[in-house]
Amino acid sequence: MNEQPVPSIIEAIRQTVAERLQELDGVVGLRRSSEGVAPHVFQQGDDLSELEIVPRYPLTTVVSRLHKSFPEIRLGIVARGCDERAFVEMAKRNQIDPDRLFILGIACTAEEAEECHCAAPFPKHLVVGKPVAPGSPNPVVAEYDNTPLAKRNAFWRRQFAKCIKCYGCRNICPECFCEDCAMEDPAWVEPGLLAPPFPVFHLIRAMHMASRCVACRQCDLTCPAHIPLTVLYDLMRRDMEATLGYIPGEDIKAPPPLSVTLNEAPLLVNTGHMD
């Protein structure tokens, strides 16, 4: 996570950003200052030696806010594979304007791909770096079908009991944009309980992630209690692909299947309710 990028990649992306700033209003990326690394809108004349690509940090909500506040602004974005997929999903939900967003894609390193168990560690709009092979699949997910219900239950109860309800998983998520979050609604999650009540709290989030999660792993990395949330989300992603043929972030033209009719996004399996 803390390894430094190959100097040539960081130099090349700084060069690309400098070129694109000639015609764009700004490029969103990470900037290193004396206080650490934080999101920043680079504009012409800025010191691009401050541009960084580690640590990974999702910028969709930053771009979403900028697009909504400045209806004309044309932005570039330094993006990895997962970032690009996240922008695709946000565009479908009218949170960003894809016509005013330009992906400056960087490829992840093989180590990063492995750390994330990433199936596509590079964006389609790749500008800098070479695509590396996908990381190996998450071993917990691979063996999950052979795990009996009672063992699954024990596993997740142990995991969720660690939750301190910091909402870090939601706050870091590149796909979470609702102004009123169901996880904070007393109608669904009774307030004042720690760890948060099972099954509502975490399963609500898992269900909401089903057609959105682009497997960026930020929630796993952020969680102070080290709850392996992406195991649950990966299983949901697998189910979505099997039943609805939907891979979040893959195709900007594919409608979010849970929000449309069967004519627009049919079921691929017979659940016994087709009559």
Binding site: P199, L262, M274
Partner: protein
């Protein structure tokens, strides 16, 4: 010590236009339905959000039945299209979290299907009875 037989508590969400009328139909025909069912009338099975089902389990239901119009019969034309995608996905999620997915079931019952209403509810109550209380499955 005598062991009391476990009586499952089932919450049934029924759509106003088909299943609720189907339940009425069963009652008018004097067909017996299990008393374990707590009926909740909703305007469409498509309004049954995952939050609602999960909170129902949280509140102590041993099983949740979601019932609505057959495909093509929806009063809002495509409300049950959402249901047919959402409920199987939610069942999968329950399974992933170690809750038996059979505790959640989706059934289409039309306004004319009184006998089917009785049959579906009876079968579900018996199924959940064999699964036992949810509180034992998710005991903290």
């Amino acid at each position: 010590m005598a062991v009391e037989e476990f009586e499952p508590r089932i919450v049934a969400f029924m759509c106003n236009w088909c299943t609720y009328a189907g339940a009425d139909n069963a009652g008018v025909a004097r067909l017996e339905s299990p008393a374990n069912i707590l009926p909740i009338r909703v305007m469409c099975s498509g309004r049954i959000s995952p939050e609602l089902v999960l909170r129902t389990f949280r509140e102590g239901a041993d099983g949740v039945l979601v019932m609505g119009c057959h495909l093509g019969d929806c009063h809002y034309s495509s409300g049950n299209h959402r249901t047919i995608k959402r409920i199987p996905l939610l069942k999968s999620l329950l399974g992933f979290a170690g809750i038996n997915p059979e505790r959640l079931q989706l059934e289409w019952v039309s306004a004319a299907e009184g006998p089917r209403f009785t049959q579906v509810t009876k079968a579900f109550v018996e199924r959940v009875r064999t699964l036992g209380p949810l509180s034992e499955e998710v005991a903290a």
